[in-house]
């Protein structure tokens, strides 16, 4: 939905300007530019700065920011608020993300648009609270129970922390799904230069709305229209398996089959429109070795690729911007001529597993845990071993 007068007035003071911000802060401003109306969250390192910035800024644009008693309440509140028509979000890290899983599943099942930012930190459990990691990648895909699909994006710069928030809110509204912004603590807590968008250059997706009497939970389209609370339509929202009109039916197998498969297909069949990657191929030679990375790791990875090219090795590079749905087509094409594909990650090889399913070449995971991102030298070393 388009920005309202209060939001436009607030943003007009910022548009086009350049600032020096934390990734967390840029994320907050991204939410503002996306027209976020409501934030509910709970403090957690390294995401607290998002809540703090939003607490200060959101009321200025006519929105409301609250701190709830825990993460379960936070995700619940943003789902309830979304059904009034608001653009809503929360922000957390691993332990809070774990707590939110049940209600993320509820948002998926009820097809509620909302944005969940997970600034990943080193786990499991309390882990290294103040240190970055990329260990929640598979959890973002499968953390909640049951068969489902999800959209998750990973920024690799402070600027992307802002820009990708616009995408997150649009994707949430377009596909009536929760969307996860998979930041990592390294990006969340560095400061870089950020340029605020010009309002004239950005658009905001709107939720498809159903007409009075139309079904809100099914129909001939993959994404049904929505009707918000207060429209006098007696909207029946439930996390139980339900018919197209929202009424519960757990007894008929076909009802569940139709519902779950449609919710799954909503994202699965729209991969081409959803998935974004960034490709950089070696010039002048066909590369037999590639490096694939995402988030903070993509920066030293790309640095290593450039150094290797400087040593005369043709290396191709692919960065995932969309983590889920997985960029299987792009990855398969990327690796078509490879002998080896290197995958540096700040985890023990979560995405490399997914890659193996779609490529014929050897996949070499370059994991690093312990809270310090890969260095260019470490990844270059891995490249030299295979190229």
């Amino acid at each position: 939905m388009a920005l309202d007068a209060n939001q436009t007035r607030y943003l007009s003071r910022l548009e086009g300007k350049t600032y020096f911000l934390l990734g967390d802060e840029a994320c907050a401003y991204g939410a503002m530019f996306a027209g976020c109306d409501f934030f509910a969250g709970y403090p957690i390192t390294p995401a607290s700065e998002i809540a703090e910035m939003i607490a200060e800024e959101l009321p200025k644009s006519g929105g409301i920011c609250v701190q709830m008693e825990d993460e379960l309440a936070s995700i619940a509140a943003i789902i309830g608020a979304a059904w009034t028509g608001a653009r809503t979000m929360t922000a957390t890290s691993g332990p809070g993300f774990s707590l939110m899983q049940e209600n993320i599943g509820y948002a998926i099942m009820t097809e509620t648009p909302c944005v969940i930012v997970n600034v990943q930190r080193s786990g499991p459990s309390t882990g290294q609270a103040t240190k970055p990691a990329q260990g929640d990648v598979l959890q973002a895909r499968w953390g909640t129970h049951g068969d489902h699909n999800i959209i998750a994006l990973a920024p690799n710069s402070v600027q992307e922390c802002l820009d990708l928030m616009l995408d997150c809110f649009d994707l949430a509204d377009n596909y009536r799904t929760p969307v996860i912004m998979l930041m990592d603590g390294a990006i969340g807590h560095i400061r870089e230069r950020v340029t605020m968008p010009q309002l004239a250059t950005i658009t905001h997706a709107s939720r498809k709305m159903a007409a009075p009497g139309e079904d809100v939970f099914g129909g001939s389209d993959l994404v049904p229209g929505m009707i918000h609370y207060g429209a006098g339509q007696n909207i029946h929202v439930t996390g139980s398996t339900h018919l197209a009109n929202g009424m519960r039916d757990v007894a008929t197998p076909k009802v569940h089959d139709v519902l779950i498969k449609r919710i799954y297909a909503k994202i699965d069949k729209n991969r081409e429109r959803i998935v974004r990657t960034e490709l950089d191929v070696a010039q002048n030679s066909v590369a037999r070795v590639g490096v694939l990375s995402y988030g903070a790791t993509a920066r030293p990875a790309y640095g290593a690729v450039k150094r290797a090219r400087g040593e005369g090795k043709p290396i191709d590079f692919l960065r995932l911007i969309t983590i889920w749905p997985f960029a299987r087509q792009q990855v398969a094409e990327f690796a078509e001529n490879f002998d080896t594909l290197l995958v540096p990650e700040m985890n023990l090889g979560q995405i490399s597993r997914e890659i193996e399913r779609f490529v014929d070449c050897r996949v070499v995971s370059v994991p690093k845990i312990g809270g310090i991102p890969h260095t260019v030298g470490e990844i270059l070393h891995a490249i030299r071993e295979v190229a």
Partner: protein, 282 residues
């Protein structure tokens, strides 16, 4: 002659009546009192959102009451309702759910909603058991009772949720039973009418999954027990903890005026929007 239609059927999804509650279940009575309360207040269901959790009493508003409804995850209706009310303060938002849901798994949300004094009405149907799942012990199950998960005896005392809610800071708190339906209905009206956190603990019966194991096999058996066990709060002055231990204290536990949560949030928003407008204009 034509058979009369219950005047309150228009508030219900009549196409799915009779409802699924067991014979003699208190849920039907609570639904009855609630619909009467809505009618008596002149509330339009189109201006209401009813939120519930998981359990038999969460079925009271969803699917049976015909308004916007939100059937959420176990223990969380108050948190979901908070989001709805913040963004639509003009709608009457009501939570109806069970004791296990609201005061067990959802206890933390209950405490903080009461503390914030958010303008919600929460009607907690307390049947002293986890009924839907077959009769497991709940935080509200009396000490000594045998349930499916306390087969020897329950060693925990029963939680007096309404007392906790008073201490947490709610504006309006009452306790009634499904026998005391007239004052129950009036209390529901008071809670919905009053700005602030309104909480009613409704002691109710589960003959199927609780009663038949403790010798109260029917609805009337329970209601007779409630009638006998209840004591009006006005009459408890001077009585000791020991004397009150096995009684159900009914009546209005508190009724006070305090700053309300949602209106204060909107106040901040208005102040900040005005400040920006001034900055941009000046």
């Amino acid at each position: 002659m034509a058979e009369p239609r219950h005047r309150l059927m228009e508030y219900l999804r009549s196409e799915i009546m009779p409802h699924r509650f067991c014979e003699g279940c208190g849920c039907g009575t609570v639904l009855n009192a609630f619909v009467n309360a809505v009618e008596g207040l002149g509330l339009e269901p189109t201006r209401m959102v009813c939120v519930s959790g998981i359990g038999c009493s969460s079925w009271i508003p969803s699917p049976y009451f015909k308004s916007d409804t939100l059937h959420t995850t176990h223990g969380r209706p108050i948190a979901f309702a908070t989001g709805v009310k913040i963004m639509r303060p003009d709608l009457t938002v009501v939570v109806i759910a069970g004791d296990g849901d609201v005061a067990g798994i959802g206890g933390n949300h209950l405490i903080h909603a009461a503390r914030r004094n958010i303008d919600l009405s929460v009607f907690m149907v307390n049947n002293m058991i986890y009924g839907m799942t077959g009769g497991q012990a709940a935080p509200t199950t009396p000490r000594g009772v045998k349930t499916t998960t306390t087969p020897y005896r329950n060693v925990e005392p029963a939680f007096r949720a309404a007392d906790l809610v008073v201490a947490a800071g709610a504006s309006y708190v009452a306790r009634w039973t499904t026998y005391h339906v007239f004052p129950l209905m009036e209390s529901m009206q008071n809670a919905m009418r009053k700005k602030g956190f309104g909480f009613i603990e409704i002691i109710s019966q589960c003959p199927e999954n609780y009663g038949r194991r403790i010798g109260l096999r029917t609805g009337p058996d329970f209601l007779r027990q409630f009638k006998e066990q209840s004591i009006r709060i006005e009459k408890t002055a001077g009585m000791s903890e020991e004397e009150l231990r096995d009684r159900i204290v009914i009546g209005r536990l508190c009724d006070r005026d305090q700053p309300e949560y949602v209106s204060q949030l909107h106040q901040i928003k208005q102040e900040q929007v005005a400040a920006v407008a001034q900055e941009v204009a000046g």
